[in-house]
């Protein structure tokens, strides 16, 4: 019963512990299955939030419109394929919907597969695109490596004053400029 309640609550808050009652939180401590549910929900939410928002480059619409065959011109290969797929002059809505759905599934599948391939280095992409060595110098970045290294040293000194801080050797792994 408590598992059912916990899983309903977890779905309601995408697995976020902040919004759960203490009863459910203590249940999560004991129940591996519910913990797993919570983790899956949180991962799903993180994945949804981390999907990049793509914008078409400026002028793309105009370029596409320019390339579309004008009336009276010989049909292009795209149109010929479309006619082969949908032979009637007037497209039947059922076939069009089925074709659209198939295309949507194929695109979604492709995007998902691509996302899976890219998921591990997703966060790394930002780092990978910014190192000075790859951008032809530090001048394009808001900060140079030397400046960042100096800030890291200062921050580590502050962190070392925390009671349960790791030793410096661990800090050198956790904080890097790249």
């Amino acid at each position: 019963m408590i598992c059912k309640q916990a899983q309903e609550d977890l779905v309601g808050c995408w697995g976020c512990a902040d919004e759960l009652s203490s009863e459910i939180l203590s249940h999560l401590e004991e129940c591996e299955q519910c913990r797993h549910e919570a983790l899956l929900l949180r991962e799903t939410q993180v994945m949804l939030h981390s999907l990049p928002v793509e914008r078409a480059p400026e002028g793309l619409t105009a370029q596409i419109m320019d390339r579309l065959p004008h009336e009276g011109q010989q049909a292009g290969w795209g149109e010929r394929i479309a006619r082969w797929l949908v032979p009637e002059r007037r497209m039947q809505w059922g076939r069009a919907a089925a074709l659209g759905a198939a295309l949507a599934i194929a695109i979604a599948g492709g995007v998902y597969w691509y996302g899976q391939e890219q998921q591990t280095p997703l966060q790394e992409q930002v780092v990978a695109t910014t190192p000075a060595s790859e951008t032809g110098g530090d001048e394009r970045l808001a900060i140079t490596d030397a400046e960042l290294d100096e800030l890291i040293l200062k921050h580590q000194m502050l962190e070392m004053s925390q009671p349960l801080a790791d030793d410096v050797g661990v800090g050198l792994v956790v904080y890097t400029s790249r």
Partner: protein, 332 residues
Amino acid sequence: MKITHIVGNLSRIAVICTVFATIASVQMAEAETTPLSILRRSINARTTVSFTGLRTVVVFENGQRVREVRQRVYSQAPDRMRVEFLTPESERGRLHVSVGSIRWDYHPNTNRAVRIEAPPVREKIRNRLDELDRIAQTMTLQHAGRDTIAGRPTHVIKIYTAEGVTVQKSWIDGVHFVSLKTQRFDGQENLRSSTEYTEISYEPAFAPGTFDFEPPRGCTVVESSRPAEPISLAEAERKVGFSAVLPEYLPRGYSLQRDRANVIEVQGQKTLWLPFSNTMETLSLFQRRARSTGDVHQGSRSITWTDGGFCFTLMGPLSRTEMRRIKQSIEP
């Protein structure tokens, strides 16, 4: 009659003493294993226990491991430490040596050695023990059982926020109180970093020169001084010559340490340094006048951007999602 009476009284006294002694010893044993006392002994062990060991440090991002480094550690009480980076190949040869308040970090890839003057270890330990009591007041400490790490029996200590979110889990040697494994979690309880010893020896034989460091020939040596004593935010703003831009959003439990602000020089430029803490961990927000506008730089546990004529760097033990959320709430 009298003798019987005396013997009777003595027996009663003996029984009462035994009961009291048993209660006292049980209480003492319990006191030894309270999470707070174990953590306290673990902090003290840094200056009292010598050892050598092999450990793995792993850094995670959104539940994915992004970095894994293998290190050999030499620690000689009270204040000497040497950490050699063994793997991966890109980190091999990297070295950290500290003796007293002097610390050296050397990276062979950049052929750069940084000499840092840090507070003496004993001073750090004293401060840490004072701060530990504050953690015990704001967080929940739990003795979560026993486990074996690197062949050693350990106490498992869990630390939760008041809302029940696990922040840290530590495996502390049951005899020597050295922390043999530590896991740190973010606000969503995702693993953020893990450090684990796979080998440890408490009978180390340190070769002569283990804690010596001489920068190799041709190496660039950089000196980094200890920051000045912290000052109030108002004083720091006066000193740096501009007002601090504070974040509208901070992760739960974090607050600005108004009396621990500072002004530092970074590559010759005055920089305002604001610390934020949740008693367990610390964030730093650095603010200085921007020389130019540049691209956002995302480092490991840091993000730097320019806005409103300022350059900001946010650094700390947070996920990138949280970092970006704080960044978005900073509006000059």
